[in-house]
Symmetry: C2
């Protein structure tokens, strides 16, 4: 990773917004910019690079963030914030308004009002999101490593999947495989949802015992050097009846069509509409109640978003999921999720776990 390049790109954005410095508080952004693992604290990026943290992380920050000066804090923000900004030359300070709590904002505002040279707090909006959503080649490679682990987990799963195993037991079996094949702690809890539970897009694995002749939705992610993957497959044990085949085929068509037709320059909403229209035409519009996809990276869900209100434009270098689904209360559901990268204006699928059809 190249925090130096990232800091440089961030400074360009600050200059464009006429912000002299920015106050970073969001955990993934702390890592993205400083390289310090698991840091709790703040960064102040302006003329210099300041890392603000307490006793617990100071030694680690010294080791992992050599480009940063370290400011050690203890106690409440009101105690240390004035000292940190005494003698500053900042008029306009950006902050992460989608992350910083209202209470923290108010505390900062109170302190800044009392300084000799007051500071205005300027919402950073999606400034960091927009930096992170276009991946460096090294980041795309780390995501690809996380995808390979998830692909291998599905291969392993196909051997273990049989009637009589509980959702929970299967989820734990998959988790062990993922962890023992190079993944850090998982980016999200594995979903194994069988039968009627498969109608819940975000079901938690339960003691429900997997049967023949019902849909089984499995959604897994791995984390490799902090970068995530996110894949879903739907299984069926025994001869597939017409309804299941029709639902599965519809979801698959929607996914493949979206993957073929999504191009750079489209908005997230335009991308989403491709799959949504196809599922709607098949008569399942109401049953596809979530977005088509989301970015993956340091977070399991990040920009870009591909939902029916997503205005952001898709461009080269973005890595995201394509995951249409159909959920029918009482019956179950089908979701298929692959990870893709936008290259030369179109999508390349980077996951390869087998599908039923």
């Amino acid at each position: 990773m190249e925090p130096k390049n990232r800091l440089q790109r961030l400074r360009q954005q600050l200059a464009q917004k006429e912000i002299e410095a920015i106050w970073i508080s969001q955990p993934e952004n702390l890592y993205y910019l400083s390289g310090c693992e698991g840091l709790e604290g703040y960064l102040l990026i302006g003329e210099g690079n300041l890392l603000v943290t307490d006793f617990r992380y100071v030694e680690q920050a010294r080791r992992q963030s050599p480009d940063f000066e370290i400011f050690t804090i203890s106690g409440k923000m009101a105690d240390w914030l004035p000292g940190l900004f005494s003698g500053h030359k900042i008029r306009r300070l950006g902050f992460e308004n989608h992350h910083l709590s209202f209470a923290a904002y108010r505390q900062m505002e109170d302190v800044f009002r009392k300084l000799q040279t007051p500071i205005d707090l300027i919402p950073g909006d999606n400034l960091m999101d927009s930096l992170r959503m276009v991946k460096e080649p090294e980041e795309a490679e780390l995501i690809y490593q996380a995808v390979k682990i998830a692909d291998a987990a599905f291969e392993h799963l196909e051997k273990e999947l049989k009637p009589g195993v509980s959702e929970k037991a299967l989820a734990w079996d998959i988790e062990k495989f993922i962890r023992e094949n190079g993944s850090q702690p998982l980016p999200f809890e594995i979903i194994v949802a069988a039968g009627p539970n498969a109608a819940l897009p975000h079901a938690k694995p339960s003691d429900y015992v997997i049967q023949e002749r019902e849909p089984i939705v499995v959604d897994i992610g791995a984390r490799y050097k902090y970068y995530t993957s996110d894949l879903t497959r739907t299984f069926y044990i025994g001869k597939m009846p017409g309804t299941f085949r029709q639902v599965y085929q519809t979801v698959l068509d929607a996914q493949l069509t979206a993957i073929s037709y999504i191009k750079s320059g489209m908005t997230g909403a335009q991308a989403d509409a491709i799959a949504r229209q196809l599922i709607g035409n098949a008569g399942f519009g109401e049953a596809f109640g979530h977005s088509l996809g989301h970015g993956i990276g340091l977070a399991a869900h990040e920009s870009p978003y591909l939902g029916f209100t997503s205005k952001g434009v898709l461009t080269d270098g973005m890595v995201f999921t394509i995951e249409p689904g159909i959920y029918l209360s009482g019956w179950g559901g089908v979701r298929l999720e692959d990870d893709v990268v936008m290259e030369n204006g179109k999508l390349r699928v980077i996951s390869s776990a087998r599908k039923l059809m």
Copy 2:
């Protein structure tokens, strides 16, 4: 769990603060009040109980939150918030100012200003914290189950701890044991920090191979039905030299003294001072740079806090950690952490993993 009692206690607090309803957004609070697992969304608690979520969680909310009316949302807050509050009778609406982002606050404020009957947003401050920090007997029992799993993990660890194992391998061995003995996904990443790494209070397990004759700090937690435990022990393989014995004994004395002397009615700062003074007198004051403890419950770190600026008062029914530590850069560290419950005005230790002395 008894969401009904909790909702009733919350309503009493709202009445005291002259707030007619409260908007809940913090994940643990969503579960605490609704019983819906892994919910993403909001609760509006006032005259009635409303659960606000999207397609992905609606079916689960119907199953798990029978006391709540469900309001299904999609898209951006600005799209659905006006409809949700049309025809309302609320003048003062509480919100979780320590959780809600500044951006979300601003969006709500914008919508509320345009309503026929405007709504004032009132910071809830520590309203939910203060409900959650006194545990119901059933909650204390769930924490105790989580503590028993962590205790058993230390017994297991003592058999596995030998020179030549990496921090990472040992951490994964412990994690498997915890998960296979009844724990949900862990509340925090296990710390195994050996030799110089033990000087980092929040070290991440690395490829460093554990040796004889160095301190090894191991910090683990389990999660049982969403309630957490948090325990630390420090190990040493081989004959313990004088320095290690002295540091260990100082930390142990500080811990046992704090446990004996902490009484209900003390502030968190007074509790912290007991251990801090003892460590200071031994000449290690600078080396104990974090707080003495923190509450445990649905979160691994929650109220009450026992730090040198903690003004909150400790009372019966609270469950928290007592975890003094001494960290010496280049040498390593010692931390001992037990879980305690305040009963009849004094502390009862609920963890029982063995110590070296």
